[in-house]
């Protein structure tokens, strides 16, 4: 095939950086802090979420350090509570939720649909400031002493008994919620109203479909968390008795309200990552994605059914057994669209001409880890089995397979894939390959032993444990060390590439999609002229529609 496999940039004549692009369109701190350019806002987010990933990572390190020995020799019990709570809050609300949508999504969405910007550029900037304000409040609470309730803020502990900075953090998360909602509204309107001529719904890249589904959850889920945390805050500040058992308040009500957002929030984290994987797998198998429409609709399916499964967090919380049965059934149901995606990605791989690039390593890693995470999720969603495994390390391992093995692998894969587009420089070769390998190996070493630990009965959120669990805990901590190394390396080679990386050219991967048809980095208004779309997504191995005559070539094993 003529247009295939120019995967290394040096096969083409040496590309040059475009003279004018969004990075040098204006200069100075003000041009960044007051920018309404979706590409720059994406980078602002990239820097901020990276900082919070580092902070959350430090807390993770402290947890693993404490758990090396069965005794509690590093922390007092209360300190340990604060450490794992802050780890979760920073990672979930200030890294994972905004990670892909606010960075890659912000940068790529308008490019992929052929728009000049998102629908509400100022709102987009406001969302970043909301994020910053929320993050600052949380940091203030953190330095003052943190929170010890767990990221779930269960009442009545959080409302009545906890002697930590619950209110401050709750307000921080509340404000940060605006950032999520603004992003969601912006994306939905952008996808509905800003598509270039000819960019029909079924020509949209699956990355866009995934973000559409994510945005739905952001807009419809986040406000419920907001009101829930507000009620907790009101109760703590003014003594309004919403959940106070002394007045007949109902702690289970809190759990229902909390998980109504916080379960779909998991899909806010994983869906964008699935979008990234669709792009990467299609690009590096040189095949149109298998079952495009099914993948697109399964994103929506996950978003819709994801709203109906929250009760599986309440199997042991005195929820009615019949409600539990229904929630258990619905949980099985949400596995269907997820499985559809995995099967379709696997089918895309089949007889594809696979190129082992760094993004592809991450994508393949995602496939395996997400599958393990998903299947163990089914185990936990089974009503009877969950009674045994509830609140054990099995749960911890399961959601880390989804949120780290799934969401984070997609995030890193996407970063490697689109870095040449964002900054115009190639990242590839030995070090990125090594980091992908370290992340995969380190991740499994960290979290697989936790499945075993949990099954044997190690409860989560404990800092002391019986001696016989030590081997598995030490394995897990060793894995975390490898994992940390794998995460640290990209920081260095990404930054290094900004100056010394090979110039990428418009389309270093030979990928299809509107974002690859503009220069890297893109110009201020994304395209020289308004693109007109007359082709479907992922037309690898197929002649362009305007070159008449030849039938579409069937993908051949090469």
């Amino acid at each position: 095939m003529a247009r295939s496999m120019t995967l290394t940039p040096d096969a083409t004549p040496e590309p040059e950086m475009p003279k004018e692009h969004y990075l040098n369109a204006s200069h100075g701190l003000k041009s960044w802090l007051l920018t309404t350019d979706h590409k720059r806002i994406g980078i602002l987010y990239l820097v901020s979420v990276s900082v919070f990933f580092l902070l959350g990572g430090i807390y993770a390190g402290l947890i693993r350090l404490e758990l090396v020995t069965p005794e509690g020799d590093l922390f007092q019990p209360d300190t340990y509570n604060r450490v794992f709570t802050m780890h979760a809050i920073l990672m979930i609300f200030f890294f994972l939720v905004p990670s892909i949508p606010a960075t890659l999504g912000n940068f790529l969405l308008p490019l992929m649909i052929g728009a000049k910007d998102v629908a509400f550029p100022k709102l987009n900037l406001a969302s970043w400031y909301m994020y910053l304000i929320g993050a600052t409040l949380t940091m203030v609470a953190l330095f003052a002493g943190g929170v010890d309730t767990g990221w779930t803020f269960y009442t009545p502990f959080s409302t009545t008994y906890s002697n930590s900075y619950v209110t401050t953090v709750a307000i921080g998360i509340f404000v940060n919620g605006f950032s999520s909602i603004f992003t969601g509204v912006n994306f939905l309107v952008t996808i509905h109203r800003m598509r270039a001529p000819g960019m029909t719904w079924f020509r949209l890249p699956l990355f866009v479909w995934a973000h559409y589904a994510t945005s739905l959850i952001m807009v419809l889920g986040t406000p419920v968390l907001a009101i829930t945390l507000l009620l907790v805050g009101f109760e703590r500040m003014f003594g309004l008795g919403f959940f106070d058992p002394a007045l007949g308040g109902d702690p289970v009500l809190f759990q229902h309200l909390f998980w109504f957002y916080s379960h779909p929030a998991v899909y806010i984290m994983i869906l964008p990552s699935m979008g990234v994987i669709s792009e990467i797998i299609s690009a590096f198998t040189r095949k149109p994605i298998f079952g495009y429409k099914l993948i697109a609709f399964s994103s929506l399916g996950i978003a819709v059914i994801g709203f109906l499964v929250w009760g599986h967090h309440l199997f042991v919380s005195s929820q009615s057994i019949y409600a539990g049965l229904i929630f258990s059934f619905l949980t099985m149901l949400v596995a269907v669209p997820s499985a559809i995606k995995v099967f379709n990605w696997s089918a895309t791989l089949y007889r594809g001409s696979i190129a082992y690039t760094t993004p592809m390593f991450y994508a393949l890693g995602f496939l395996g880890l997400f599958t393990i995470g998903g299947l163990t999720g089914l185990m936990l969603g089974t009503l009877g089995l969950d009674i045994h495994m509830h609140d054990t390390y099995f749960v911890v391992a399961h959601f880390h397979y989804i949120m780290v093995g799934g969401a984070l692998m997609g995030y890193l894969g996407g970063m490697h894939f689109w870095w040449p587009k964002i900054f115009g420089r190639i990242v590839g070769g030995f070090w990125p390959h090594l980091s992908a390998l370290l992340v995969f190996v380190g991740f499994n070493l960290t979290f697989f032993p936790q499945f075993v630990l949990g099954y044997l009965g190690m409860p989560r959120r404990y800092h002391v444990y019986p001696d016989e669990f030590q081997v598995l805990h030490v394995l897990s901590t060793a894995g975390a060390t490898v994992l940390a190394l794998g995460y640290a390396m990209p920081v260095f080679y990404f930054v290094w590439s900004l100056k010394y990386g090979k110039v990428a050219g418009d389309n270093p991967w030979g990928a299809v999609g509107l974002e690859w048809e503009t220069t890297s980095p893109p110009p201020l208004h994304n395209f020289e002229s308004m693109p007109v779309v007359d082709f479907d997504a992922y037309q690898y191995h197929q002649p362009k529609p305007h070159s008449q005559g030849k039938p579409a070539t069937a993908p051949s094993a090469s």
């Binding site: 550029p121 509204v185 109203r193 406000p223 007949g248 308040g249």
Partner: protein, 236 residues
């Protein structure tokens, strides 16, 4: 053809750089506003869900709590709020149609609508302040010397939950009104100068949607809070 036509017409109005046509800009701003209102529904939905949960658990306490409230004042306030929605419609209508009278230019009519809405909104909040202060007198404020107003029912202590919800729901509603009124104060001089006219009135119309939404929230709060104790005898 239609596209070119709308593009031509669109250039008349102010179109932000990233939109192709005024039509696209208009559709975007309304879709954005409706999505924002969707999330508002879910936001209030949370506290309404709490209300339903507790009302099912403690029906008598909720009736007793509701009977402490003055239905007449609540009903009058509902009327005031509906009037504020009417004046809001007037402002939007004036901007859409470019209506002008002999004496006043179009922008003035938009501004009059907004002033009317501000006045009715302020009246509503004023009444609310009176109502709140009477709660202090009757020891009905949670956590501040609350005394259950009844004793011969199951769970009289749950009346405190009712009043927590009372303050939570009406308070959040009032907060939305305060935010809306602050925005209207900023809008007033712009409206007077004729910023919104027949070609571009997206902002007034979008804001109108917000104001009506806040109104509708009250339409639900009013029966839930004030009317549920009306059909049964006074609990003691």
């Amino acid at each position: 053809m239609i596209r070119q036509l709308t593009e031509f017409m669109g250039r008349e109005a102010t179109v932000a750089h990233h939109f192709e046509t005024a039509e696209q800009q208009k559709e975007s701003s309304f879709l954005g506003m409706w999505l924002f209102l969707c999330q508002e529904v879910l936001f209030f939905g949370g506290i309404f869900a709490a209300y339903v949960n507790y009302r099912v658990m403690y029906p008598e306490a909720f009736i007793a709590g509701s009977q402490q409230l003055d239905v007449f004042i609540g009903a009058m306030n509902t009327l005031v709020l509906l009037c504020s929605s009417f004046t809001m419609v007037y402002a939007v209508w004036a901007a859409q149609t470019g209506f002008r009278s002999k004496r006043w230019h179009n922008g003035a009519h938009v501004a009059f609508g907004l002033v009317g809405t501000l006045v009715f909104g302020a009246a509503f909040l004023g009444v609310k302040v009176v109502e709140y202060s009477s709660k202090f007198e009757h020891h009905l404020v949670p956590n501040l010397g609350f005394i259950p107003p009844v004793s011969n029912i199951e769970h009289p202590e749950a009346t405190e939950i009712f009043f927590s919800l009372y303050f939570g729901m009406t308070g959040l509603h009032a907060l939305h009104m305060v935010v809306g009124m602050a925005i209207m104060l900023v809008m007033l001089p712009m409206a007077w100068k004729g910023k919104w006219n027949t070609t571009n009135h997206n902002f007034v119309e979008g804001f109108g949607l917000y104001w009506h939404f806040v109104d509708i929230v009250w339409i639900f709060i009013f029966p839930f809070i004030y009317l549920i104790g009306n059909s049964v005898g006074k609990l003691t």
